[in-house]
């Protein structure tokens, strides 16, 4: 069982490749096309990483988070959300790659398997760049928000953050 667990990744690749081969897909061609898409995703988010990482490093080095932490901590404690995820929550609806960079920084600093690292990953995985989605969809269709879409999307984001913090605390806290 343990060996199987350790072989999850190659087994997963094998299963996907077998399934595709049965369907007559050119496996090598599909995988290299997919890997190229992965590189393009990185190309898309790397510039944001290069801008957001230095800003967060500067913020941490300045000592401001400790100063703010003591004033804001009661509010975060009340909501049950780790205060470290504040910047991630602020960026999430605005910029997909910015939020990814903030989450990456949190996971790097606290470890991907720590409670904060997991909370950041769950927040990132269960929400979207709401402002961007609304702007793109509505402008492409040539319509305006009737004043319901944005509040509903932002309310969903808020519930998402609270729920992420709660479920991570329950499962791994």
């Amino acid at each position: 069982m343990r060996a199987l667990g350790q072989l999850t990744v190659p087994l997963l690749v094998l299963a996907a490749a077998l399934g595709a081969a049965v369907k007559g897909v050119d496996v090598f061609d599909a995988m290299s096309a997919g890997a190229k898409k992965g590189l393009l995703i990185l190309w898309g988010i790397l510039p944001s990483l290069l801008v957001v990482f230095p800003a967060i490093r500067l913020l941490r080095a300045s000592g401001l988070p400790e100063l703010l932490g003591t004033t804001l901590r009661p509010a975060f404690t009340l909501l049950g959300v780790p205060e470290e995820t504040g910047l991630l929550m602020l960026l999430r609806p605005l910029s997909g790659s910015g939020a990814l960079a903030a989450a990456a920084e949190l996971m790097q600093r606290h470890g991907p398997d720590s409670l904060i690292g997991r909370t950041a990953a769950v927040m990132l995985g269960s929400s979207e760049t709401s402002f961007y989605v609304i702007a793109v969809y509505f402008s492409a269709a040539g319509i305006r928000d009737d004043g319901r879409a944005l509040p509903a999307a932002l309310c969903a984001d808020l519930v998402c953050f609270l729920a992420s913090a709660w479920i991570c605390r329950v499962l791994w806290g």
């Binding site: 913020l59 991907p112 969903a156």
Partner: protein, 187 residues
């Protein structure tokens, strides 16, 4: 708006470092941050490429079409007017199945077609429902978040998956309820 956030971080960090006497570490932090980002990039690329390769296999095996069949019933309930129009129904199911598979690039064009269709049908509530479905990010596998964790050496990058489902579904329910609630109040 992100620019304002970044600008504020720089401004307040500089002020705070002066106030707290942390100017030396703050001064070197910016370049270190760029260095961090560059060091992290190859790790992230590895996880993203591997996962994108597997996703491409699944996509070409026709998993999207299978998922679209499964989504038919929920779509008919959520979009009674949109689903009556064959073109809009096809766009809706393509958008949702791409979202569930984490294929953001495939989801957007289909989502735009669905939005245009719903706008033409003047189905305002259904339009807002589509927006919430897209912003709540209901994914079968949180591939980007898991790739990040994998690139930072997580023992089991996908073990957050059930937590992501719970969080997505709760936020989706909150968004859909608010749309229905706002619908009842005259605007």
């Amino acid at each position: 708006m992100v620019s304002i956030a970044i600008f504020s971080i720089y401004l307040f960090s500089i002020l705070a470092s002066l106030l707290l006497g942390n100017t030396a570490s703050a001064g070197s932090a910016v370049l270190e941050g760029v260095h961090d980002a560059l060091r992290f990039a190859p790790e992230l690329a590895a996880a993203l490429c591997l996962w994108s390769a597997v996703t491409e296999l699944l996509e070409r095996s026709g998993i999207g079409a299978a998922l679209a069949r499964l989504l038919r019933q929920p779509l008919l309930r959520l979009f009674p007017r949109g689903a009556a129009d064959p073109g809009t129904l096809a766009a809706l199911s393509e958008n949702l199945s791409a979202n569930m598979l984490g294929l953001g690039n495939a989801a957007t064009p289909a989502g735009i077609r669905a939005t245009r269709g719903l706008a033409r049908l003047q189905a305002r509530t259904e339009l807002n429902t589509l927006v919430v479905l897209n912003t709540a990010s209901v994914q079968l596998l949180p591939t980007t978040a898991a790739s990040l964790r994998a690139s930072l050496g997580s023992a089991a990058p996908f073990d957050i998956t059930p937590a992501v489902w719970v969080s997505s579904i709760l936020s989706l329910l909150a968004g859909l309820s608010l749309i229905r609630l706002l619908n009842r109040t005259p605007s």
